[in-house]
């Protein structure tokens, strides 16, 4: 039996405890099956030919020689996909443009980034498929690549998509897919009333989610016209819908079976291999398996945007922020759809600012189409805004946390996009850091500094379905359609156990396929424990309602005369007449048959998340290397169902934020070729790079959820880059405005500062 270790709220028996995860034994014994672990008899292997150029017109593709290679069963190119409609249609978490999606799966007339898929081969072995790729002849007309938002926005820039138009420019071709503006108050008056104004410019590099498991898909297609895709995805229903859209077939003809997933962080919310594997299976009548290499993952799956950001912010001498103007341009990659609108809505979200103007631009560049990455858009933006906030606090002579608390958003504060917040816990996260042992401890030593920063993320609601089945022995199973990426089976089982009044080991959770459950949106937006958890809560309540009817039959009373407490049903009139769920389960056949609870939600009541981080660093002034000495992160979880996995999300997000801050970046040459397409050179944090990370779970219950849950999966990635930049400033007196703050970049800044100090007595005096 799982034992209770920590009950943070006396009203719950299971929620707030730390039972072992139900999928744990499979994962520590190697038994858990991920997408690439599946095989089928007669299976073919698929490989993708990818563009060596960042920007080129495809003049001809000749597959004749490749098709003649023994063992090659099929080859497909962009011409084998129907041309999708060039408009946004609602699909999955965001809207999708079927034409852009299809062109990203297989390029049609142009390749738009190095690694862009051009053709796919199915053969009897992976080696033969690889050999066939070398025999495919593609004639390209190479075009100049456009690699940065600044280049792409210039009026003379080469145009990626000649059909792209935006609402403001009318019929003029452009690389700017969209301009979003948020505006409140009177920005000029706001700056006029400011006594201190800081204006800074920032750049951040494109970075990848870095999940350890490469993309994979295994597809079958039968002569009954039905296909099945086994894959590791955050969104099986999105895979079904998107694959159907790309192939021009009906979603109902595809079943998606979600395998265990080896990380996603937003990157597995769209499709790459899935429609190709299915298309090749349709062509050959045999199962087709495809797995990306790491280089393919980095070159051709969706990283998140690099960006160029300008922030101007003003405050009074006492520290009240009066106005903020933010300009953001984000790399969308090859097709529209960067998270810049989210960036616009998150960049100032922690603060109550009366006068705000935010301009946000979604810009095409010859890089892979970006995909979601943990709090998409928010981290770049917070790096900029939170650096400026830190500078304002310093100019006012205020502690940076006090400055944040003074200006902090709370219940009723209008969000920059308009609506007022309900109960939120931003200020509580600042106070938690302020009261932490870490913040209260002095930091001593040369070249050391402590920085703080905060972050916001909306979290998502959306659609989920859950079923709870009661078995003859009184155990229950919980069935959902939400792939478990970080422990959500544990939280769903715990929620059901809490409602049913049984021990959590009496509840078995499982994730099922798209035929076996109703539409369930993506595992993303920190929504599973919130929305799927809400469905599980309601489905378990549905079980209790039905069981009351059964107990009423046994007690010979009306259902509403039955009381349910701690897993036991009793007649209100005669409390000595009682029966446990376990005993009642045995009586189900003779009282009406099996009991299954179900619930389908389009969840309302989403509670936004805030986090505040405190990070100590030591800078090596000879190399520019930054060491993370200590790190504490406080995050409002609303209510932590399983605190260990809430901590895990906080620590994992923080680690990704550290990588984004210090080392990770896509490095391209002048021709748009990615120079670091392996994990040695795309430098993610390793175990010795990080200290223990101290999580402080703040619980300001979300009034919109029956257990007070907010999402916890994303916001922890947002504060670290700014917190580290602010710490570096306190360590060596330099404000870094470009990510990553890698050793060469920081060393350059340190050397420039030294040179400046030698030549300028004023600067020397300041130092």
């Amino acid at each position: 039996m799982a034992t209770v270790t920590n009950t943070s709220n006396g009203t719950y028996k299971v929620v707030g405890t730390r039972p072992l995860r139900p999928d744990g034994v499979d994962k520590v014994t190697g038994r858990a099956k991920y997408g690439a672990d599946y095989s089928l008899p007669g299976m073919l292997h698929g490989k993708v030919l990818r563009s060596p150029h960042a920007h080129a017109r495809i003049k001809a593709i000749n597959v004749e020689k490749a098709l003649k290679l023994a063992g090659v069963k099929a080859i497909v190119t962009g011409r084998d996909l129907p041309e999708g409609e060039n408009k946004s249609v609602p699909l999955g978490e965001m809207s999708v443009n079927p034409r852009h999606l299809g062109h990203n799966i297989l390029a049609r007339d142009k390749v738009l980034y190095q690694g862009h898929a051009v053709a796919a081969v199915a053969a009897v072995t992976p080696y033969i498929a690889e050999q066939a790729l070398e025999l495919i002849e593609v004639e390209y007309e190479v075009l100049p690549p456009v690699m940065t938002v600044d280049e792409a926005m210039a009026s003379t820039a080469p145009i990626l998509d000649p059909e792209l138009r935006n609402e403001e420019l009318g019929d003029q071709p452009t690389n700017i897919a969209k301009h979003t503006q948020l505006k409140r108050g009177d920005i000029e008056a706001g700056f006029k009333s400011a006594e201190i104004v800081i204006e800074r410019e920032f750049r951040t590099a494109m970075v990848h989610q870095g999940y350890i498991e490469p993309h994979n898909a295994l597809a079958t297609y039968g002569s009954d016209g039905r296909g099945t895709i086994y894959c590791s995805t955050q969104g099986p229903f999105e895979v079904r819908g998107m694959s159907a859209a790309v192939l021009g077939i009906s979603p109902g003809s595809i079943k998606v079976v979600p395998a265990e997933i080896g990380g996603g962080f937003g990157g597995k919310t769209t499709v790459y291999l899935e429609p190709l594997a299915l298309l090749l299976a349709m062509k050959t009548g045999r199962p087709v398996k495809m797995v990306m290499t790491r280089a393919e993952v980095l070159r051709a799956s969706g990283p998140t945007s690099g960006s160029h950001i300008k922030v101007k912010m003003g405050c009074t001498r006492q520290g009240t922020i009066t106005a903020a103007h933010v300009w953001l341009a984000y790399e969308a990659g090859a097709f529209p759809g960067s998270p810049v609108a989210a960036a616009a809505m998150t960049v100032l979200a922690p603060y109550a600012i009366p006068n705000v103007l935010i301009d946000a631009y979604d810009v095409l560049v010859n890089r892979p189409k970006t995909a979601a990455y943990r709090a998409p858009g928010a981290t770049n933006a917070a790096f900029a805004a939170e650096s400026v906030v830190d500078e304002l606090a310093e100019r006012c002579g205020l502690d940076p946390l006090d400055f944040r608390i003074l200006n902090g958003s709370h219940e009723g504060t209008p969000h920059p996009a308009g609506p007022p917040y309900k109960r939120i816990g931003f200020i509580e996260t600042c106070e938690a850091i302020k009261n932490s042992a870490h913040y209260k401890s002095p930091l001593k030593g040369a070249n050391r500094g402590r920085g703080v920063a905060s972050g916001f993320w909306f979290n998502a609601g959306m659609q989920s379905v859950a079923m709870v089945h009661v078995h003859a022995d009184g155990t229950a199973s919980v069935v959902t359609g939400s792939p478990d990426i970080g422990g959500s089976r544990a939280s769903c089982a715990m929620i059901a156990a809490e409602v049913l009044g049984v021990d959590v080991d009496q509840v078995r959770p499982m994730v099922t396929d798209t035929d076996a459950i109703g539409h369930t949106d993506v595992t993303g937006g920190s929504r599973v424990t919130f929305a799927t958890g809400m469905a599980v809560f309601q489905a378990a309540e549905d079980v209790v309602r039905q069981l009351k009817e059964r107990a009423a039959k046994l007690f010979e009373c009306k259902p509403d005369e039955v009381e349910f407490r701690a897993g036991t049903f009793a007649a209100k009139s005669n409390p000595s007449t009682s029966i446990t769920i376990k005993d009642l389960a045995k009586r189900l056949p003779r009282t009406g048959g099996p009991v299954t609870g179900r619930a389908a939600v389009n969840a309302r009541g989403v509670g936004p998340a805030f986090a505040t981080a405190c990070i100590d660093v030591e800078v090596d002034p000879e190399t520019g290397k930054v060491e993370i000495l200590r790190c504490t992160i406080a995050q409002d979880a609303g209510k932590a169902i399983h605190p260990s996995y809430v901590e895990g999300q906080m620590q994992g997000g923080t680690a990704q934020g550290v990588g984004w801050a210090l080392n990770e970046e896509y490095v391209y040459d002048s021709q748009g070729r990615l120079l670091n397409s392996g994990l040695l050179d795309y430098r993610m944090p390793t175990c010795p790079d990080l200290p223990m990370m101290e999580p402080i779970i703040v619980e300001v219950p979300n009034p919109g959820h029956p257990l007070g849950v907010r999402g916890v999966g994303e916001v922890s990635i947002v504060p670290p880059p700014a917190a580290i930049a602010n710490a570096i400033y306190r360590a060596v007196g330099i404000r870094m405005t470009e990510l990553p703050m890698s050793p060469p970049r920081l060393l350059k800044a340190i050397l420039a500062r030294r040179a400046e100090d030698r030549t300028s007595p004023a600067a020397a005096a300041r130092a």
């Binding site: 978490e93 989210a342 998409p376 609506p419 989403v606």
Partner: protein, 87 residues
């Protein structure tokens, strides 16, 4: 009468106004009313009988799930905001 907050980029179609007070019991009715008062606005919000996929609507501080059919009260506050996705 519900209070409809007009997104920044639609204000030029609305004589610079950032708020309109309108009658209606659903988001759809409010948008129709807005469109009658300011021609061209409703096409920016509605497409093929539904909210545009790029737009979310907030009613009284809560992201509405009912699209044009979402009920609004006599004192509701309605905001149109960009729809976004999470990771």
């Amino acid at each position: 009468m519900a209070k409809v907050f007009i997104p920044a980029q639609m204000r030029k179609l609305c004589g610079g106004q950032d708020v309109a007070v309108l009658d209606g019991t659903t988001v759809g009715e409010l948008i129709e009313g807005l469109g009658r008062r300011f021609p061209g606005v409703s096409a920016l919000l509605v497409e093929a009988g539904d909210l545009r996929p790029s737009i979310a609507v907030s009613v009284d501080g809560e992201i509405a799930t009912g699209g044009l059919l979402e009920r609004v009260g006599p004192n509701s506050e309605v905001h149109f905001i960009p729809a976004i996705g999470g990771g």
